[in-house]
Subunit: 348 residues, 2 copies
Amino acid sequence: MPEKTQPKVVSIKSGKGPVTSYDVARHAGVSQSAVSRCFKPGASVSTKMRERVMKAAEELGYEPNAIARSLISGRSNLVAVLISNLTNLYYPEVLAELTQRFSAHGVRVLLFALKSEADVSETLQQIWPYRVDGVIAATELSPEQVGEFEKREVPLVFYNRHLTGSPVSSVCCDQEDGARQLVNGLYRAGHRKFVIFAGPPESVVGVERKTGAIERLEELGVEDPAVFNGDYSYESGYALVGNLMNKKASPPDAVICANDVMAIGALDAFRVNHGLTAPDDISVVGFDGVGPSHWKSYNLTTIRQPVRRMTEAAVNMLMEMIEESDSSNEKRVFSGMLQAGGSARFIN
Amino acid sequence: MPEKTQPKVVSIKSGKGPVTSYDVARHAGVSQSAVSRCFKPGASVSTKMRERVMKAAEELGYEPNAIARSLISGRSNLVAVLISNLTNLYYPEVLAELTQRFSAHGVRVLLFALKSEADVSETLQQIWPYRVDGVIAATELSPEQVGEFEKREVPLVFYNRHLTGSPVSSVCCDQEDGARQLVNGLYRAGHRKFVIFAGPPESVVGVERKTGAIERLEELGVEDPAVFNGDYSYESGYALVGNLMNKKASPPDAVICANDVMAIGALDAFRVNHGLTAPDDISVVGFDGVGPSHWKSYNLTTIRQPVRRMTEAAVNMLMEMIEESDSSNEKRVFSGMLQAGGSARFIN
DNA sequence: TTATATATTGCATTCGAATGCAATTTATGG
DNA sequence: CCATAAATTGCATTCGAATGCAATATATAA
């Protein structure tokens, strides 16, 4: 009986599973530590050694195990990003920017998209086990929750949130200032009857935008504008117009909305249900400068948040806190840029 | 000299850094393995032991280190999600659903948001070191790249993509069928002069939508509709209307767009630049059923992708592939739902 | 050329949890 | 009450890379 002519698969490495540094070391005839050092930038390795190891690594298809590396080095190169409602139209842009910027630092993003801000504490429990190097939070955090970060010495940067009176790093758009810019332009253009479509009362950002507007209005002698609370959605902006028009005998001049999407909803409601079009019959302004704010049907006058600069700042701050241990906290506030559209009579 | 009345901070644990299972073991007077077992569901532990350990863990604030666990167990509980352009308006919803569903399985999402599909291979290199348990790809992958997954035995599920003729799992919306539904309704309503605003030629999804429409048109005896290529953006939809109206003496009846956002751009261009409004002067349909498709200014007739069911399927498939090693591949195709709006004369 | 400084390399240990196996305890049966 | 089975527990090792320290090789100075 002839020998079975089995194909004798010559596998360079016998064991299954990914190639380890030991495999590479054996194949190159050097120690495991040498392999490790060849993959560590700035390590003390001779040219000859590097070549040998790299060749062996190449041949075996070696890829360093980031998990093992994290364990021993104490750095996971992971960052958690907390976002409350991704469908908010504003956040996808932020998120895309963040991941790309972190990527340039060799850091990967663990995404946590919360259904509601109520899920935060649960989410934090999911984060801790991964020993992330830092966290970007675009959600509210209670003082206790911030305390957890301090206890664990996990760097934290708030994005468009902050805990007043506590030393936490943050990157924000100047919400109040933006609102004041909007009021100014509307006032100059002759508006005197203002209404505010605010965000939900628990939204810090929303409250600041509202406060900024109200304060500036008071300074200008316009007292007590009507305030309605929405939830940042198109539907709420749309619905609030109904509420508004029911109450008031005479419609307002100008509606200041907590964000672009509500402004868009309001514009549609005014036009569809009341035959009022902007900017002739009514002025509506938003906040954020999201993509659809440019759409011709709306062409919003709004405050554009400098997302690129803000994300850059957030990433840099977090990376600095990760790399230097003597992290002093810092708050960076960026001014929004007025984006003049056609949804309001407005004089800049 | 009186003793310094220093507060004698009694720290339960002296060493810095997170509490380990050894700390808990020592504090509870048991072995480290016992601690480990207490945190593993289904392990053999007596009630008494569990109580002691849990109490100690509680007191010390112990949190299992997921990194260390991954290293020894060979499961990272990490899944990578690849998305090409997050600003596409369709993907944020998908992404939010995916993270929440994975979360329910105790799996975290590593997000990779590509600037362009060209960055895929670079991104893959960033993924491998993390030994993710699986990958959801909402991007094109070359056969070689898919081969890399097989070589590494990393489960892969395509989302709205597939490699024709290769055995890779995928979850898709039936693009061709959707396009045919749109053609049917438009045809029934009397349209005969069709134009297609397709996606970029390299987009498989876009090509399928286009093909579906063209094929159905041919079956109905409408030959060679004009096809223009866009890039899924509002601007491209808007601009293509310009191209179209320059060429043709008489405008078309109906425009079939590769996605909602292009349809929205087209609607705006028709109205603003040519005084044509839907559905009286022109019919425009989209694809996806994104949030803004419901906005009153557009009120799109479109095909809504069943995102919830699709993401559920994708997550279940991937989890199954991760948990059973005998992964047989499967392709699941979901039909889109017609969303009848007011942007087209349409008879369903 | 020899002595000293510098650069490379390997050895052995470490990170923190999981797990096979053996030792021990507890439960069950006769 | 003793023997055997079953359930717990601990011991020792493992996952894969990084790193302090000692050993060796190379470069520089005298």
